[in-house]
Amino acid sequence: MKEGFRQAMAWLHTWAGLILGWLLFAIFLTGTLAYFKSETSRWMQPEIPVRSVSAETSLTVAQHYLEQHAAGASHWLIELPGARRQGLSVHWEAAAGKPGQHGEQLLDPLTGTEVHPRETLGGEFFYRFHFELQMPYPWGRWLASIAAMLMFVALISGIITHKKIFKDFFTFRPRKGRRSWLDGHYAVGVLVLPFHLMITYSSLVMFMMMVMPAGILAVYKDNAQTFYQEALPEDEVRPAVGNPGQLLSLAPLLEQANRLGTGGRVAEVTVNHPGDANASVVMAFDGADRVVHDFGRTVTFDGVTGRQLDATPERSLPVAIAGSFFGLHMGHFASPVLRWLYFLCGLAGTAMIGTGMVIWVGKRQLKHAQSAGMPLELRLVDVLNIASMSGLMLAVATYFWANRLLPVAMAGRSDWEVNGFFIVWGLSLLHAMLRRGRAAWVEQLALAALLFGAVPLLNALTTPYHLGMSLAQSDGAMAGFDLACLASGLFFAWSAWKIRRSGRTQAVSTKRPRSMVLEQEAN
């Protein structure tokens, strides 16, 4: 600890990275997958018809449906189909006192008929997992935030300790064993640093009200709610008046809202007290036209007269800055090109964490190469590495396979898709414990290669929406998903092959000649 600043930071970097490195790998991987959550959901519910109808048509269809099925409800919520969301969905809430129901239904925006796709969480599972970690509220978020803070410390200490950060900026020397792994760790770390810093810091900001409430408590004491009202003023919902009123046709209001020009396109329409004289219609925008995330920007209309009642005021500068952190992290605004870039950067971050963990084990394995076994802590890290990296890939593949193999009408199938994910992840841990390090890596990666590579085939065998059809119809989401799985399979196959090969050459070069024959036979 007394050896100097750089060395102290090297120690800090190692430990901050090691403590929750496996969790961070999982968070980064699932978060990266979440950038394509809509496309994933689309692949996992191929029954939802793809329609290109205008937003106004969808809204009219939804309104008719709700007027028939939920006329007495206190609130309606209509989610319009968008560039990245198929399917029109409606939700309604029962009125107080009336024996109504609350419900939701997916509709075909062209015909207005009900759509019943297979029950699944789709891409939302990865999205939710990466900040809730499948733990009850609020523990998962706390753990994810702690991991984020450790990531932040590891990033900055890594930058400080990387003496040759400028000299080695363009350096990457493949085919040199350990040196290449280190170069690779530097490359995906340094070259993508703006993204890593942004994603880490923004993740802290996104949970700041939960993890750093001291300021709110000091200023607002018992009235924390007042803080939210002051920071993000919202339009008041007018209560029902009890007299009937004819709800206007919503489509013209939609047109009016979209013409306002700010906040992007309308994504959600809420109707408060439909059928009442005091009905109000709140249009919420998707905010996809700007980087800064606009917390709930809305415009409100009177439901009977159509008069514009309210619009969310401009957010203050600090709130806009916080909003920019939210927006940059989530990337809602990203066009297809930028979205792929987000994905690539996320993979780079995942690789940065993964290479770091592997390098740590590799360096210490060298020291113990001649001894019979590995010390406990080294074996622990090695096993956790395998389970959290290749094991996680297997779990993801299982999730997709379960989606196609579980019967469509099966009750609780979405729960079982998730169960499959965790069961296989657990099995991969067992496998890693039972097999020696290198063999475990090769076997798991080879299986992952098989599972991912076969996804297009699985899709073709279990649904009519196979790759040939999706390519012919230029269905980007379906085709892209199948192809991405195929590419992943090829990558895992290549990785497994490389590790197997390097295992052979290493065994030959590090053992003394006399035992070489015996070693080769054992391998």
Partner: protein, 101 residues
């Protein structure tokens, strides 16, 4: 690390543990105190001050953690956190006494 002895002395382990405690808990405390001070003292709307305070606190936490491991001894780690901590607490108390915001 280069010349580590086969088994680490207990004093080393205690020093590391002390620094870790200082960084994790002391650092959080100092970060929280900074956010409180900013929330109470920044001019303008109080909600805005609170938001700025929260966003800034993570940078402070980072600096505190780095300090705890970069400084020459575990004692310095704690000292280096307590001094600003007390000053910030005094600032916050002053604001409270003055009836801000």
């Amino acid at each position: 690390m280069n010349a580590k002895p086969r088994t680490l002395p207990v004093s080393y382990r205690l020093a590391v543990a002390s620094r870790v405690l200082a960084a994790v808990f002391g650092g959080y405390l100092v970060a929280a105190l900074v956010s409180v001070s900013l929330s109470l003292w920044l001019p303008g709307a109080r909600a805005e001050a609170v938001v700025i305070g929260m966003m800034t606190s993570f940078l402070v936490y980072l600096l505190a953690v780095i300090w705890c491991f970069a400084c020459a001894s575990a004692w310095r780690a704690w000292f280096g956190l307590m001094v600003p901590g007390l000053m910030l607490a005094a600032l916050a108390g002053l604001a409270h006494g003055m009836g801000r915001p």
